[in-house]
Symmetry: C2
Subunit: 432 residues, 2 copies
């Protein structure tokens, strides 16, 4: 089996108790991390090995984007600065109705370009399925895919059946890089009977559930008017929390709900940029973390961000909750970095697979080029990553033991080709 | 005189009523902008000219950073996630006491690297003076410099005298790239008699004043306890607003104070990242803009940001005030972009010199490389710049008619040399 020794530079393991290492080393055997520790020249290896010189680099786990709608990159900048319902009903939904399989495929390829080039090696998606799965399989990134299911639609049952079939077909494919969840869209788009069917299917096929939860104050009003209760109670009543649940947003929670979700082992995808841009509100992240809920970071779709860059979300999360709580010690750099990596991996049920540099885990890692003015001086590598670094500082990306980005360039395909196809798709989509 | 025709690509003039131009052109003669309009091949020019192909680029005014402490980049990441007073008194001030002329010079050079490479062509500084002025003169960037004056210090009068001497010596130097203000630090560090002296000197030598104002809630308490009034009233009483004033932060203002500052023609530097990171609060920017106050964007020092990147501040300002006011239409992309350019220039008294692409203005402009995954597709160039672009997308920077960055690289000096010197300075500074 192939062995690679990455010679740091700084290495941030982000494992339990794993402190940043100066002059560290990561040894990769096959597609797994073998050891992480201080650099030492191998005395004798029984197998041939390759040494990667990363002495001017910082090596850390690949980032985890716990909530997005990948192909929405085609709608980046198509509608901004609008009230949520105008944005959704007059702009986004009519355009989404026109999405073809080709749009979705090239949109997802574009999104994967952007995510890889800014250091994301795992993403959780709720959108379409077949073409996204194909793009994931072809590119080498890791993904947790779920087809978005609107329970109000006529063909909702059929869509659920298809989603189950797709889930059974695709789970574990692409060398285990693809995992699957069911994706009932939100409390306000899924009536009780439909949610119960989703839960039954999830139970039968041992699937987790990815759902939007308590994103806006309007949602509370809508669910309250319809059912006389709040979204968490509504979902609980349909049995949702008997399954592993990844809840996106979770902005409007009270303290009792936070404790309840913690007891139910619900995971949360926090999307600070999207919540700010749509003026949805500010999720109670410090309380969620205090309740030991796994909180990952998400970009949401590019129509409401307008980036798929987890570096941006890390920094934004760290800053937003400080000013929100009037306390500059809240979400220190290390916590933000963990949300972007190991907490995110746990939120996706992949805590044993990715999110930290530890022996036995998949070799999902990134390197940052430190020889830059805005990354100088280096007093504290964790602070540097969270507060000063940008997605564009990522020089190299390895997913599942394979180099996908080297020296800032995609390895396996031409970025230009994807830009051309995606531009063509986006133009055909918005043209009258 | 040398003539350059930049052939866009998108051109964002940001002049009054100047809409984005596709296939636009900027003509530069000497160090001034001659024309801005649609591209057309010159039929005959009496002078020789050079055509720059920017068809895959976006051309826009250079960004304006209205508040920083440049040499503080040496303290980037040295202390984060701490309460303001611990941060300041236990970490920053003791380190600043050890700053030598060499530290300040190389720190400023490093800051200028970072600002130029992320598209800033003008910055307003309050810190040290002589070495910063020298760095500005040598590098080609434009700056509004003010020596920070602590009125409580024993040598305060002497420092003010020196500041006046330096102002008289340096104003208008470096081909008018350097302008000077007086920099009394803040209401809580400057007693009434000292402020009155500053105002008298500013009047005598026709200088503006750069001051921190109402940054934290603590400042209101402190000034209230000492003088029985709020910071705005305290400064008004010392006659400060009889001079042009650039007030940094202006977080804690009531509606009456906003109207009053508008009537006094005070300009404000809004520093969203720093205010969030230090948990200072959220400035009432939508109200300031509604009152027609010129509001520019600032990074503050790198110890509380930890970047000097106006792209970050643009996006952060646009997002922060949406969630703060619960209104996604607040600070739309165009407003954020104007804060980063023309409003910033006006806030510094340079509205006739820089901040937009208009005939007669100095040729201060930047180009963004659009051939990137995260900048695709291009549905709206203004949205793209504010929400999707990063400082690292800046490919070319011209200040005062001179190319300082080409194809992402500094033209006139080696980035590496500055990194080496600045790292050495930073290490000597923090070493016990």
């Amino acid at each position: 089996m192939r062995t690679i020794l990455i010679r740091g530079g700084w290495v941030l393991p982000l494992s339990e108790g794993g402190k940043p290492l100066q002059d560290g080393m990561v040894k990769i055997t096959g597609n797994k991390i073998a050891t992480v520790g201080p650099w030492r020249e191998p005395v004798k290896e029984t197998e041939p090995y390759e040494v990667i010189d990363a002495r001017n680099r910082l090596v850390m786990p690949g980032l985890v984007n716990t909530h997005t709608h990948a192909a929405m990159v085609l709608l980046r900048g198509v509608a901004d600065d609008l009230p949520l319902m105008t944005w959704l009903k007059e702009k986004i939904w009519p355009l989404e109705d026109r999405l073809t399989a080709e749009h979705i495929y090239w949109g997802t390829r574009l999104a994967i370009n952007e995510m890889l080039l800014s250091g994301t090696t795992t993403f959780a998606d709720m959108y379409f399925f077949e073409e996204e799965a194909r793009a994931v399989e072809e590119t080498g990134i890791r993904a947790v895919l779920s087809r978005g299911l609107i329970g109000l639609e006529e063909q909702a049952e059929k869509n659920l059946e298809e989603a189950v079939t797709q889930a059974r077909e695709w789970r574990g494919r692409a060398g285990n890089r693809i995992t699957v969840m069911l994706g009932p869209h939100a409390p306000y788009t899924c009536p009780p009977a439909f949610l119960k069917e989703v839960v039954a299917a999830a139970k039968q096929y041992q699937l987790g559930i990815h759902i939007h939860l308590a994103e806006t104050a309007d949602e509370l009003v809508e669910i309250g008017k319809e059912y006389g209760k709040r979204p968490v109670a509504y979902l609980a009543e349909q049995g949702l929390f008997t399954r592993p649940v990844l809840a996106a947003h979770a902005v409007w929670l009270d303290d009792g709900e936070i404790s309840y979700l913690a007891r139910q082992k619900v995971a949360i995808a926090h999307n600070p940029s999207s919540n700010m841009k749509l003026a949805s509100g500010i999720a109670p992240v410090p309380k969620l973390l205090a309740a030991k809920i796994p909180v990952g970071l998400g970009t949401d779709g590019a129509a409401s961000n307008n980036r798929l860059d987890i570096f941006t979300e890390m920094r934004t999360a760290a800053l937003l909750h400080k000013v929100q709580t009037n306390d500059p010690t809240v979400i220190p750099a290390e916590t933000a970095l963990k949300m972007a990596t190991i907490y995110g991996a746990r939120a996706l049920g992949l805590g044993d697979v990715t999110g930290s540099l530890e022996p036995g885990k998949s070799a999902d890692l990134i390197m940052l080029d430190l020889k830059k003015s805005h990354l100088t001086p280096l007093h504290d590598p964790v602070s540097l990553v969270v507060y000063a670094a940008r997605g564009s500082d990522v020089s190299d990306v390895m997913a599942n033991g394979e180099w996908l980005v080297r020296e800032g360039r995609l390895v396996r395909w031409e970025e230009e080709e994807v830009l051309g196809e995606a531009t063509r798709c986006a133009q055909s989509l918005v043209k009258k």
